[in-house]
Amino acid sequence: MRTVEEIKAAIEAAVPDAGVTLVMNPSPAAQHSLLLQPEKAVAVATFLRDSPELAFDYLSNVTGVDWLDKEIAEKVKVTKSVTKTVDGVEQTVDETVEETQKRVEPGYLEAVYHLYSVALKDGPLVIRMRTANRTDKIEMPSLTPVWRGAEFQEREVFDLYGIVFAGHPDLRRILMWDGFKDHPMRKDYVEPDDFEYEPTAHDEVLKRAQERQASRD
């Protein structure tokens, strides 16, 4: 089994401007992954499949992951011009103050692919792709032309997460019905409110049930 660094080097040697980033996995499983640039993904995937030294001919698993917008609070040292009155004279002095700044790191949708090699009995290699955001720039290239095994799984990711796979031969909803509008596996999905009757309701459901009951009485 080659290490991920070696595979990354091999990709960079074969595909110019591949732009592969290593994503470390801190868990004891140590299955590190390679983040691909969507523009080069198909070329990299084809190389991974066809290169005789790597021969990742078997795509095991395709998954979507939804990463929400993250609000990050950081302490930043800011230099400010402050007008002060010193000895009766107004002066402008530069002062360094520590401030808590909040910035929102935009969320994204991610597709994770687990590759194995049947020919070399090798694996897994994890590759991932990310969209620019969660709302409008949700396209990424489909890897179904490279590995046919992605066909249904990418459809599932499209259905449940809403990632649009460009170049997928048959991108339709797979698990939910065609007229369904939501993407239910997203973290901010609100499911239809049909807990009308709950014999052992508690917490929020109980509150909702009581409100319903009151409106009915």
Partner: protein
């Protein structure tokens, strides 16, 4: 939308199903087989376009049993998802337990004691035998052998389920394995009963084979039907007996050596033609190999604890990270992909369902065949809807 309009535009390099053109005589008939159809093992649907008896287009439709297992698992703790895994492939709850436990053990770097490993192997192989026997029974049922082979299979299955019940408390939904071991220890009488059942299994497989393997109808209907070529099988991520029936030597028990499978001597049966008959035969031979593994495991099972004392059950919070663990389930490669963010619930919980992915090539195998063979080809894939739709 007509089925014929779903012909995908040509995409460079795509390993797509062959295009079968109608012969132009007569009209095409579009049939929705399912979701209520006796041959579909539940609530699966195939939209089939027929030219006479010949299939010219086939699109599987899923989701009629989409029970939101993954979403529910993301809202609950790691351990609370264990009983849900029973209900994925409800024939093989113990294999599912093992796959999930394996993924979590990878995520936290958990060791499993010897005795628990042996118990896991014994239970997984018993599961494999009863799954393969039932699958063959259902396949024969679809061929028209109404009832009899299935009755034989279920007679044997009941014996194995009795063992599961006396050990775990449930016939089908065993909920037995834990992260770092098993829930309860096996007793001496249970092992003795298991040895007795296993001793009777070769006679059952012999009986099954004597009735079926050289049966004229079975050979006529199965040989050369629904052929799957090895190159396509690998490219389309087919796994399990279906992959091996196409002649690809890939058994995760041999490749990954998960658990303690490297200690047992067993062979991997391979097919030659990749047709329905090979898939049937590979399953029969796998049952025989499983009996061999069971005999070794039942002989060698050591004493000792069944849970790693360092395993944490309460307040189980894996460190942030991710892991993908997979096993050779009776239906194929069953994998679990987990992302932890340090909280008690998994951030992402994904099941890699062998049943769903094995259906990728259903259209390729069925095109040009008669509609009566579609039922057989579908039966030989061996799916369970709970796992296809989750």
């Amino acid at each position: 939308m007509s089925l014929l309009d779903t012909k995908p535009e040509h995409i460079e390099g795509w390993n797509r199903p062959p295009v079968i053109e109608p012969d132009g005589e007569g009209e095409l008939l579009e049939v929705a087989m399912g979701p209520h159809h006796p041959s579909t093992h539940g609530v699966f649907r195939m939209d089939v376009a027929l030219d006479g008896e010949r299939v010219v287009r086939l699109k599987p439709v899923f989701g009629y049993l989409h029970r939101n297992h993954e979403k529910i698992a993301e809202g609950t703790t790691y351990l609370a998802s264990m009983p849900y895994t029973d209900r994925l492939d409800y024939f093989c709850s113990l294999s599912n337990n093992w796959a999930y436990a394996l993924a979590v053990e990878k995520l936290v770097g958990q060791e499993v004691p010897e005795r628990a490993q042996y118990i896991r192997v014994i239970l997984a192989e018993l599961t494999r035998i009863q799954n393969h026997a039932s699958t063959i029974g259902f396949l024969l049922q679809e061929m028209g052998a109404s009832g009899t082979p299935l009755m034989y299979a279920f007679r044997e299955r009941e014996k194995i389920l009795d063992l599961f019940e006396s050990l775990t408390g449930s016939r089908m939904m065993c909920n037995y394995m834990r992260f770092g071991g098993c829930r309860v220890d096996v007793s001496g009488p249970w092992l003795a009963a298991t040895r007795k059942v296993v001793a009777g299994l070769p006679a059952f497989v012999d009986e099954f084979e004597a009735l079926l393997s050289s049966n004229e109808i079975l050979m006529a209907r199965c040989q050369g039907v629904g052929v799957l070529k090895p190159a396509l099988a690998v490219n389309a991520s087919i796994s399990g007996p279906m992959l091996r029936a196409s002649g690809v030597n890939y058994d995760i028990r041999k490749v990954d050596h998960y658990g303690i499978y490297d200690r047992f001597k067993f062979r991997v049966p391979l097919g030659d033609h990749g047709d329905i008959y090979d898939r049937y035969m590979v399953r029969v031979l796998e049952m025989r190999e499983s009996i061999g593994i069971l005999n070794q495991a039942l002989k060698e099972i050591p004493g000792g604890p069944i849970m790693d004392p360092k395993a944490k059950l309460r307040g189980f919070r894996p460190k942030a990270g991710e892991a993908y663990g997979r096993i050779e389930a009776p239906k194929g490669e069953l994998g679990f992909y987990l992302i932890s963010d340090g909280s008690p619930n998994p951030y992402r919980y994904r099941v890699r369902p062998p049943s769903l992915i094995n259906l990728t090539v259903l259209e390729d195998m069925c095109l040009g065949q008669n509609v009566a063979d579609v039922v057989l080809i579908f039966g030989s894939v061996d799916i369970v809807l709970g796992e296809v739709d989750r």
